[in-house]
Symmetry: C2
Subunit: 227 residues, 2 copies
Amino acid sequence: MKIGILGTGIVGQTLAAKLAAEDHEVVIGTRDVAAALARTEAPWPGMVSFSEWHAANPAVVVGTFAEAAAHGEIALVATHGTSCLDVVRSAGEENLAGKILIDISNPLDFSGGFPPSLSVSNTDSLGEQLQRALPDTKVVKTLNTVNALVMVDPGSVAGGDHHLFVSGDDAGAKAEVTRLLGEWFGWRDVIDLGDITTARGTEMYLALWVRLIGPMGSPSFNIKVVR
Amino acid sequence: MKIGILGTGIVGQTLAAKLAAEDHEVVIGTRDVAAALARTEAPWPGMVSFSEWHAANPAVVVGTFAEAAAHGEIALVATHGTSCLDVVRSAGEENLAGKILIDISNPLDFSGGFPPSLSVSNTDSLGEQLQRALPDTKVVKTLNTVNALVMVDPGSVAGGDHHLFVSGDDAGAKAEVTRLLGEWFGWRDVIDLGDITTARGTEMYLALWVRLIGPMGSPSFNIKVVR
């Protein structure tokens, strides 16, 4: 499958590497391809530089946001929440029209330190902002409630017995994304929360998620909804 | 144990009935005792009027907010989030000084219909507002992530194998509340999230909780944190 990934951070890299390893044709999009490939410093401890990452993942093509969006039969946006609206505008509304856009972003604002606040919440969400910005695209919010390692390997947590959520206005798009989450990564239990306004729920859950990292001892955890 | 409960809604009633059935000395506080006992209409479908409820639970003493607070060795506030600051002011700072106040309130604002928004969130929380209003009281936020039936009977959901959270600035108070949650209701797994600012996390989780009621088929569910 032709997949466009917008964003070269830890989430974008992890998704791109996993999908390329499954023989999908992945283009990862960035603002400035030459600048991204010239980066030789690791952005965070434990990560490698983007050029090192790309050398280790040569099957992933690096392109502009617009090239990644145009390439994908489906696109994923995995940038910092504070920049994702700019990123999809750079990707081009026309390059995403008629397609599903999987929105993984969270509106975490670390400018005040830890814990982060949310740059949008309560009566709006990033998911809704993206859907309003891209009226001809089917935005499906998902994967934003777990860290990158859990996204692509749910079985690494409690044998995969936990939940993911989807929010979106198009039932067919949510069904297709739910199918792909299983096929790509092995997600078994995906709860359809409703229309794109339910993205407020999963984005605001991040305020709890960030405070669970300490008690859980690492960010590789998730929740199971039980009744 | 002498327990003061502030608020006569479904949460206050459910907690009071359960604790009185365990032979605790419970005073439930309300703004106007005569008016509360004169109510003969059910506030919601499925509930009975407060006078009928009290006739069925005669061991629970009805008093003012101040009387309930003064009576309790420990107090619980379980009012609408939009009124709980007024309620603790009515209860009297001096009547809660030196005590633990278990804060169960959520800042749900239904004035715009469903889904509710939160009247405080993101960079503040009701738990923090209560702690600031009552500097000599040990506020512990808990129980606000489940509905009233689950609060007092965690075993009714998945055999009790799910989590509750505590937030508060006083480690001893959180340990005591954790012990009481087990003794009173049977809670086995309580996660200490940290200081009272972590109440933002459990209060903002409500934005997800309200959207899970539909997919789960009822509000009697909870989450288990897995790793």
